[in-house]
């Protein structure tokens, strides 16, 4: 493979990372699809959910959503599992591409070549965005292939929209961690902020359904802008896309300003 740029080199470096996460997401999606027939049956699940405290019911969501494959996947895969698993993946990825390379000394090696800091940062960010997209696409492949095994189907348009929004929200999470890491060179700070943002977003969105005081903080959660079940029922809201892309763009600008000036270890 010709490694012409930092972008292609980064993509090549992370080929096993992409493959591993792609297969993992495909397997997770396929597993959840194969559970769908059991979920669809009316019965004891309603009784079990009714017996749970209201705050905990956020983990299950509205049981009506379990009747259709699209809303079932939106509620059970995109609204819960993907948020946490993909969230962890993007924080790890952002740290590896920034402070990971700086701590190992590889960032200095690349910066000793005629590559500007602005160009390096942009190429690494674009590579990160592409890696996230490629890894997440395993979910779509897993769903698409396994739906034939249960004799159900999901609209490609809905699947595409869910995947697109997952990608956009994960790029936003990744951009925050990426920016803190590249702007400061501090692994500890970037990890704390990345994980804190992910965890608080998850907690707020999951528990706001049953906890009144959390509802006033809902807009602070990045997952608020990715209402997966609503997307499965109708379509993407452009204002949500604008908020998430806007956050990523602001983060990228901060990263540019800070990284151009600071010392590299």
């Amino acid at each position: 493979m010709m490694l012409r740029s930092v972008f292609t080199k980064t993509m090549y470096d992370k080929r096993f990372f992409i493959l591993g996460w792609f297969l993992g997401f495909a397997a997770l999606a396929a597993l959840l699809v194969t559970f769908f027939p059991a979920m669809k049956q009316e019965g004891s699940l309603e009784m079990f959910v009714d017996s749970m405290p209201p705050a905990m019911q956020g983990f299950i969501g509205d049981l009506d959503n379990l009747r259709q494959l699209s809303t079932y996947l939106a509620a059970q895969l995109f609204d819960i599992r993907m948020q946490i698993i993909a969230g962890i993946m993007v924080v790890v990825l952002a740290l590896k591409l920034t402070v990971g390379e700086e701590e190992s000394g590889q960032l200095r090696t690349v910066l000793s070549l005629p590559i500007s800091r602005a160009s390096l940062l942009m190429q690494k960010w674009l590579a990160m965005v592409c890696i996230i997209g490629l890894a997440l696409s395993g979910t779509a492949v897993g769903i698409y292939v396994s739906q034939f095994a249960i004799d159900e189907s999901i609209s490609l348009s809905i699947l595409g929209q869910l995947m697109l929004m997952t990608w956009i929200v994960m790029v936003a999470f990744a951009s925050v961690t990426f920016t803190v890491a590249i702007a400061t060179g501090s692994r500890a700070l970037a990890t704390i902020i990345g994980i804190l943002l992910l965890a608080t977003s998850f907690v707020i969105t999951t528990f706001a359904i049953g906890v009144d005081w959390l509802q006033s903080f809902e807009a602070a959660s990045l997952f608020y802008y990715f209402p997966a079940v609503e997307i499965a029922k109708s379509s993407i809201a452009l204002k949500d896309v604008a908020v998430l892309l806007g956050l990523s763009a602001i983060m990228l600008i901060i990263a540019f300003v800070c990284f151009r000036r600071r010392d590299v270890q």
Partner: protein
């Protein structure tokens, strides 16, 4: 009237602080085109901090760094890197690719064809190019880093302890390469722990200590400073030469006396002194190593400070 040529490197009163710690202090250096400059000092002397400022990895707390007449900052350093090759003894290369892929990546950044030069350097260092870099030994990684530094035939080569991972054969090959770079007209700025190595190829030596440049010598001055170690045993009492001699050891015995001293003067004066010593039973005169001189320079500085 022609303007004098711009110096390749110009550091003016550069200070770099890390919180309250001054890593380098008021460092001023001017390096002209074609000079091969050795930059010598012990660990923590400030060599790497100076090189980091030259490459734009860090910005000085005060003072200015210029390369090829242009002021260097972290944001603009890449412009000068088109004319610079860099390698360090502990250089971390991208480890998930092969040496060949890495060198292609380096060449792609220069956007010029250097395949002939690559072949030439590969013939000199004989690196393992088709193995993943993370599987290579330190010495083999170092060979790839050195090839990458020289492959674009840069106007300025900056090296930070470049031979620390090389075996003696490769160290010799490297020193020969530096000599050929000198003939090509390239400027080389090379830090090292080893004064002997630096004295062999450099036209000028800077000695750094505690973040300051304490000596700036031509290589001829450095070699002359080395002197001779003289060891004389005689059955009579021996008086040291009145000039140019630094005593190391003197002992008087019932059988006579023994002296060891360093002589740093014209050799005919040593010959005249030796002719005056009575009842000589043994004489040994050896070239004093530059590393010993290096240690002495450091010791003198320490005494002056205390």
């Amino acid at each position: 009237m022609n303007k004098p040529p711009e110096p390749v490197i110009e550091l003016s009163k550069v200070t770099k602080k890390f919180r309250s710690f001054k890593a380098i202090s008021d460092v001023s250096v001017r390096v002209e085109k074609g000079e091969i400059v050795g930059f010598v000092g012990v660990n923590g002397a400030g060599k790497t901090t100076t090189i980091n400022a030259l490459l734009g990895f860090t910005s000085p707390t005060s003072g200015s760094v210029q390369l090829f007449g242009v002021r260097i900052s972290p944001a603009s350093a890449h412009r000068s890197h088109r004319r610079i090759g860099y390698a360090s003894g502990d250089m971390e290369l991208p480890d998930q690719i092969t040496g060949r892929q890495y060198l292609r990546f380096v060449l792609n950044q220069s956007k010029q064809n250097h395949s002939e030069r690559l072949q030439q350097l590969t013939d000199i260092f004989r690196p393992q190019l088709d193995k993943k870099i993370h599987t290579l030994s330190r010495g083999n990684k170092q060979k790839i880093a050195l090839i990458a530094a020289f492959v674009t035939s840069p106007d300025l080569v900056i090296l930070d302890e470049p031979t620390s991972g090389l075996d003696p054969i490769m160290q010799t090959a490297f020193l020969e390469l530096i000599k050929s770079e000198k003939e090509r007209g390239a400027t080389v700025f090379m830090s090292s722990h080893y004064l002997q190595e630096v004295a062999e190829v450099c036209t000028r030596v800077l000695l750094m200590k505690n973040g300051r440049i304490v000596e700036d010598l031509s290589s001829d001055q450095l070699r002359a400073a080395g002197g001779k170690t003289v060891h004389v045993i005689a059955s009579a009492k021996i008086e040291l030469p009145k000039q140019h001699a630094v005593q190391i050891q003197t002992s008087q015995t019932a059988q006579g006396s023994e002296v060891i001293f360093v002589f740093k003067g014209p050799l005919h004066l040593l010959q005249e002194w030796l002719a005056g010593v009575k009842h000589v039973t043994d004489v040994t005169i050896t070239e004093r190593t530059l590393d010993a001189e290096f240690r002495e320079l450091y010791a003198v500085e320490e005494e002056e400070e205390s």
